[in-house]
Each structure stands twice: as C-alpha cells, then as structure tokens.
C-alpha cells in the first residue's frame, strides 16, 4: 500500500506509465483537463499556485486516509503548478484497487477533498 505525491511544473505528461500495483484488479485514472473557457470567457490556459509544503502534506494525508478507509492498493497523485495551456492535463489521480467499487468511491471522495482542503489556487490566463 503506497501513496505517491508529485507537484509538477507545467502540464502533466500524457501518461505517467506507472506499472499496475501488485494485486491490482482495477485501475482507475482521472485526468483533469484545462478547457478553453472559464466563466464563459475564452482563456489561454490556467495558472496554478500552491502553498507547496502544505499542499503536499494535505494530498498525502487525504491519500493515506482514503487508501485505508477504502482498502485501496496504491494511489498516485500529481498536480500541476504554474501555467497549463488549454487542452492539457493539470491533475491526475491514479487509483489501483482489487475491485472497481472502492476505487470509484475513493476517486470521487478524493476530488471533493482536493477542491476543499488542498491549498492550490487557479487563475485564468
């Protein structure tokens, strides 16, 4: 059981190529993708700013908690910092679990927690 955290400068790679965790029967991946409009206005991209040590710590806390409560096998969490152009990935969550049910539930919960408790702010560019 492991949780990996990365804050990465700029857009995330197309695919992290993390091998399936030992025992995984279901991998669920979420990619948050920057859309070309924000509040109805055309944008070039989104700029992400983090309170970095706390953001990393919060991601780790939430990840470990969900790993335990949902009995997951592994979680890989990556979030962009700085400018992410339209159509690029700014956030990726990879969950390996035995079965899909716990993975889907954990994914929904993780993203809710991210959008509530992780000190990262976006602004339109």
């Amino acid at each position: 059981m492991s949780v990996q955290i990365r804050l990465t400068q700029g857009p995330l790679a197309t695919w992290p190529d993390t091998p399936y965790a030992q025992g995984s029967g279901a991998r669920i991946v979420f990619d948050g993708v920057v859309r070309p409009t924000e509040d109805g206005e055309k944008i070039q991209g989104l700029h992400y700013e983090a309170y970095r040590p706390m953001a990393e710590q919060q991601l780790e806390i939430i990840g470990q908690e969900l790993l335990e409560t949902h009995g997951l096998i592994a979680m890989d969490i990556e979030h962009s910092i700085g400018l992410v152009p339209n159509y690029k990935c700014s956030f990726r969550l990879v969950i390996d679990s035995k079965h899909r049910k716990e993975g889907l539930a954990a994914m929904d919960e993780f993203i809710n927690r991210l959008k509530q408790d992780v000190p990262i702010w976006k602004s339109a560019k």
Binding site: A50, M54, H79, F91, K115, P119, I120, W121, K122, S123
Partner: protein, 82 residues
C-alpha cells in the same frame, strides 16, 4: 507586543498585491481573533477571510487555537485546484 506574519496566496495575495501581511496585536491571539485583526488592518481582505481558514505550520486549525508568533501562519482562502 506580539507581531504575526501571515502568508497569503491566490486571490487574497492578488487583492492587496502582497504575499504576506504583518499584524500587530496587544496580546497572543487565537485564530479567530487574528482574522478579526486582519480585517481591521487590511479591510480589502474582508471578503477572503469570510470563507478563509488559517493554517498553522501547514495544518488547518480551529478558531480557538492560540497561535504563537513563531508559527508559520497562512491564510487559506477558498481553494480551486484540480
């Protein structure tokens, strides 16, 4: 006289174009008291403090928590990652 430095990020930092504020206090403050002083001394932060929480040494604290001036203190306004 205690003097607090509070880190700012995102919209709050942009609103006053400062990445931290220094707050003067008559005595050691709780998180809630510190937020009141912040509004008094930086009225432009009012709107951000409403939904904002204070973090001390990179952890959220409840309103009653007494904050030491040597703690790393930050205002976490409504986040928007993802």
């Amino acid at each position: 006289m205690p003097q607090y430095t509070i880190l700012l990020f995102g919209p709050a930092a942009a609103a006053i174009t400062m990445d931290r504020v220094v707050i003067q206090s008559a005595e050691l403050c709780s998180a809630d008291q510190l937020k009141v002083l912040m509004i008094q001394q930086f009225p432009a932060l009012d709107v951000y403090l409403d939904a904002g929480r204070l973090a001390v040494n990179q952890s959220f604290v409840i309103g009653e928590t007494i904050i030491s001036t040597s703690d790393e203190t930050a205002l976490i306004t409504m986040v928007s990652g993802g």
